[in-house]
Symmetry: C2
Subunit: 200 residues, 2 copies
Amino acid sequence: MPQGKPSQVPEDGLTTRQRRNQPLVVVHTGPGKGKSTAAFGLALRAWNQGWPVGIFQFVKSAKWRIGEETAFGVLGDSPSGGSVTWHKMGEGWSWIQRPDTEEDHARDAREGWEQIKRDLAAETYRFYVLDEFTYPIKWGWIPVEDVLETLRDRPGQQHVVITGRDADPALIEVADLVTEMTKVKHPMDRGQKGQKGIEW
Amino acid sequence: MPQGKPSQVPEDGLTTRQRRNQPLVVVHTGPGKGKSTAAFGLALRAWNQGWPVGIFQFVKSAKWRIGEETAFGVLGDSPSGGSVTWHKMGEGWSWIQRPDTEEDHARDAREGWEQIKRDLAAETYRFYVLDEFTYPIKWGWIPVEDVLETLRDRPGQQHVVITGRDADPALIEVADLVTEMTKVKHPMDRGQKGQKGIEW
């Protein structure tokens, strides 16, 4: 992306530098591909800044994101860049493979969110990926008001990236940077299934 | 992304496995953020498969993608995963910082494209990122017909991801997977400039 000039300069009493370094809430939503992959791409930049990166997966199956998890494992262990901590909500959380009830998943998701709240309060990380976090909000497992309040009141310089379809309008309202990924064309439309190196 | 069922099974005489492993042309276009970051996120998966990854930058300034370049340098050097080769089109290619003529840039872009053609013919990589490659096509520096023919005729199992705004309609036509990134909200709209860890 080009550096670009701001289309307007706000009268907020901040210097350009102060304004530039404001912590962001970023949302990647929409029905297209690239929401999570773009979040992990951003995490590469955060890692390169030497920032502690926290990744919280609210995904359906441990199979997914294995490429990203392996890569960030190598990066986090390397002498350069920041640390990387990878959290899976409820180890093995998978509503495909386990005969769990919805209540179990809701509880796992809520426990994950409580951990995120503690980390935000303690400023454990500088950059957070809350991967597919829109779903537990959408399903009513985590109250959106609690999410909004937590994000608004978070201390310090903590960037938070949230991915998933159907982001709550109130979440979009509070976010600083929102991108919608739209499907123009997908191999599944013509009968092709997912494949390694692309989908995982 | 969920595994999902194909919406139809094509009568192409291929087994599911053959169909599944077809090499893809992927395009990330549109005015929103995340086109390149999602391409680099995909490259993490390709790296994790042990595939040789080739990244070709057609970007304006060497400043950009420094986080990604550093990260993929660490990954490429690590004992796990595939190799990563990072190409910048015309070292220092930058129409902001150098007083070059448009002709110089066009020549650099064409040289870069010729290298990509040689690599595709030789199957040098299994996964290609052609970052911001839509622009030299848009500006007429590289004929879109040449790109389409090269992509159609490429041998083997080579995935190619192309990013940038205003992708040529003919490129979208030939692509297998196309996502449009749409800007819903951006900090620049309220006077904020890019910042480290987010924009680079």
